[in-house]
Symmetry: C2
Subunit: 487 residues, 2 copies
């Protein structure tokens, strides 16, 4: 099908939906030219800002009829370019679908429109002593629809799971404008698990319009401990020891020396500057439970020779201890003006080895890498620091990033923990999956979107692209050094 003219598309849209929800000037569309991965920018043919599900359906019907690609966007905080517009396509922005439709405190659920902000849910249900657990760093801005599309995580996902574990039902419109209700209020739903499929589908299968989220009771209490270590290995061993003891912290975060230096220079949260790595371990629950577990964690810290230990003594103190971690991303900008945030995941036991590999690669490339990450679930966020104004720096940062993702795959991990594949990690997907697996992904996409109008070119690389890269598939979990001791 040859590309449809902007005039033709505009004409049909104006007949189907109110004129003011369509933006067509470059000026009006400019704010939507990129998402959180701002190195990629593109203006779409048109931007639509529907105000209800009916308008979304009408827009999809027009696009489907004319064969116009549709890229769906929530708040645009995504970090992998999943919401990057397509020149010949429509950008469907769902931020105006921002109504909380129903709160059911007894069943502990809330039904919300896709554009509702993550944090707005917790704020709306706080009066009932409830909250929505997944808390990506962008939670003040990111939308629940985007959270589902990326299967977002956050600091608390070690204990409370990813988005997929906290969502019960999703209303999705197909490209034909048909509504599918995926999942349901019950623990399990018959038929294939389309609900899980929607989570992490990156706008490729349908347009998410409503979400029924599971709410949790606010924990009675929460306490955090900050511990410093003389080596990254000692901190990583402590992560394993805590988990092995059967403790499931609400959060278990690690930062390396470079990140600590950056946050201390930024807002002095009082982190130990002499430590090679620090751990933040938060426990939540009933008073007795938290006290018991904190005592056990402190014993483990002692046994693992932590060089410093501070336990929060009040809620204000707890928030202070989190300050450093929460500001780590902006803080590293003091070292170099730009950073490239990676998002690989590895089995916990591989932490020391992979961190050592990253450190070696960082020296080889001459680019500092600050590590700030969800240690408990092995989700690394190496921040590659560079200066976009330095010729070739970005290119080098991207190459180093790709190398880090290869390390993650070789260690039995994956190329994305919570940020999605988007535009960014298409090539790494060629390494992670076999041709048969990629073929299966494409067949599945086709079962939802036969013509391929939804977010084309994202998330799953074509076999052609992978072939051009060469036979790059790395067998999952193949360890380059199988004889190294594990711990």
């Amino acid at each position: 099908m040859s590309p449809v003219s902007k005039t033709r598309l505009l004409q049909e849209l104006h007949q189907a939906v109110p004129r003011q929800i369509i933006l067509d000037s470059a000026e009006a569309m400019r704010p939507f030219e990129c998402d959180g991965l701002s190195v990629y920018r593109k203006l779409p043919l048109l931007v639509a800002l529907p105000e209800d599900t009916g308008q979304v359906r009408e827009i999809l019907k027009v696009c489907n009829h004319l064969g116009v690609p549709v890229v769906t966007r929530g708040a645009g905080t995504g970090l992998s370019g999943g919401a990057l517009p397509i020149e010949q396509g429509l950008l469907l922005v769902l931020t105006k679908l921002n109504r909380i439709l129903h709160i059911d405190p007894l069943n502990r659920t809330a039904r919300v429109q896709a554009g509702v902000r993550n944090l707005a849910i917790s704020e709306a249900v706080a009066a009932h002593g409830l909250y929505y657990a997944p808390d990506p760093s962008s939670q003040i801005a990111c939308s629940i629809g985007g959270n589902v599309a990326e299967n977002a995580g956050g600091v608390h996902c070690l204990k409370y799971g990813l988005t997929v574990h906290n969502v019960m039902e999703v209303s999705m419109l197909t490209i034909e404008g048909e509504e599918l209700l995926l999942g349901g209020a019950a623990l399990d739903s018959p038929g294939y698990d389309l609900l899980a499929l929607a989570n992490g589908s990156e706008g490729m299968l349908g347009v998410i319009t409503e979400v029924l989220v599971r709410l949790l009771p606010l924990p009675e209490t929460a306490q955090v401990v900050l511990a410093g270590f003389a080596s990254v290995d000692a901190a990583a061993a402590t992560v394993s020891a805590i988990i092995a003891a059967g403790i499931v912290p609400a959060g278990l975060e690690m930062m390396d020396r470079l990140s600590v230096e950056a946050v201390e220079a930024f807002n002095s949260p009082g982190y130990p500057r002499d430590a090679e790595a620090v751990l933040l371990c938060e426990l939540d629950g009933g008073e007795a439970e938290v006290a018991e577990q904190m005592a056990r964690v402190q014993k483990i810290l002692e046994a693992q020779q932590a060089t410093s230990v501070s336990v929060s003594t009040s809620e204000a103190d707890r928030l202070r201890l989190w300050q450093g971690r929460k500001n780590a991303f902006p803080a590293v900008s003091r070292i170099r003006p730009d950073y490239y945030c990676m998002d690989g995941t590895i089995p916990r036991r591989e932490l020391p080895r992979v961190l050592a590999q990253i450190s070696a690669a960082s020296q080889r490339y001459g680019l500092p890498v600050a590590n700030v990450f969800h240690a408990g679930d092995g989700n690394l966020h190496p921040l590659i620091l560079y200066d976009a104004n330095q010729e070739g720096d970005l290119d080098q940062a991207e190459k180093l990033g790709a190398e880090i993702l290869t390390m993650c795959i070789e260690a039995g991990g994956t190329v994305t923990g919570e940020h999605g594949v988007g535009m960014e990690k298409l090539d790494s997907m060629c390494e992670q999956f076999t041709a048969a697996e990629l073929k299966q992904f494409h067949a599945l996409k086709e079962a939802f979107d036969p013509v391929g109008l939804l977010n084309p070119g994202k998330a799953i690389p074509t076999l052609h692209r992978c072939a051009e890269l060469g036979a790059m598939h790395v067998h999952k979990g193949k360890l380059p050094f199988p004889d190294l001791p594990r711990f």
Copy 2:
């Protein structure tokens, strides 16, 4: 394609795999003619008992080449007829794939072949202080591959989740014999969530050959409380109150008067005979945590006017209190020789209303219904008691069963909690899903199995079948009595 002759199939299989793994006489195949839903019986063309994944692949290649349908079977304990053979098809029995391949105590995972029994996993890892949490009643016999295919639950799934929440990676062979690795050792995996899709796919998408399961540390302690109530409503209100208090019991089970009478007659576990309903609430975790939560549960029981309360004082005592619940199914056979076990799920708040509806329908049909179920997650197991030797009794039992499932759908629930759809609930699926949703299911099946050779005719009804039943779709959650008070 016209059906392939048994001779032709046998010939090709004998060339591909050892002769002794193929059964072809009616006598040898007889034990495989049904699964746990024994009212349906059929002999397949042939039975194959492969001993390794290579043989499974060869068998699939032959069947795919000849266009022979394949029904995969684990231990055959399924309750919905999902492993019922097809006359013109091959029955692929995976019980000989029974090796535990690798135990990783540090990452708390085990890699096992599909035919490994559920309980055998926990036994094998017990020495490391670990166990595999999902515990369907059939756990002594049922296989992990079947657990994945049915997304099995059990008493502990309220706290520890269904099979899908406890499985990290699945190796699946497509009908073409290609291997797909679904999921991975990391918390999340990029690409569409094929792992979740495999869970509950009822043998329709591929053949599961290996599973990487998540293990949990054995809880330090566990304690159970048994409480009697003067009404089903009071017991149901107590379930809601416990959950509303933010307590997540390891198990929260309910039995009605008829079930209590049956188990007391069977093995006298000491349940209160004067109660209209009893609750069993188990708490597990650290000593302090369990003590604190048990005190809170006891306060709730008091506030909800429980007529009797017994708390286990030792491990032996705890097991005694569970005796009644665990033997409820065999025990009800004393009332009538046969029972038909239903498996609907409803939102917790609907328990009193739906139980009252079931009771009214039971009287209308003149068939007793004993209720024994996972109250915490709203998963009902009404046991319809009948006598197969009474002309028309089974027919009436099936009609009553279908009515009960309709009640579940109308209450916003589903037609199956943990037993799957199989042969049994095809018609109820027509009520639960719209034509668009069923069409999507079929498209998805086709993306894996284009010719439709894997377990044809199960799990998802054809649109034709639904049309013949009439326009039966009940909008999810449409309440027939929207004005009744909820609690």
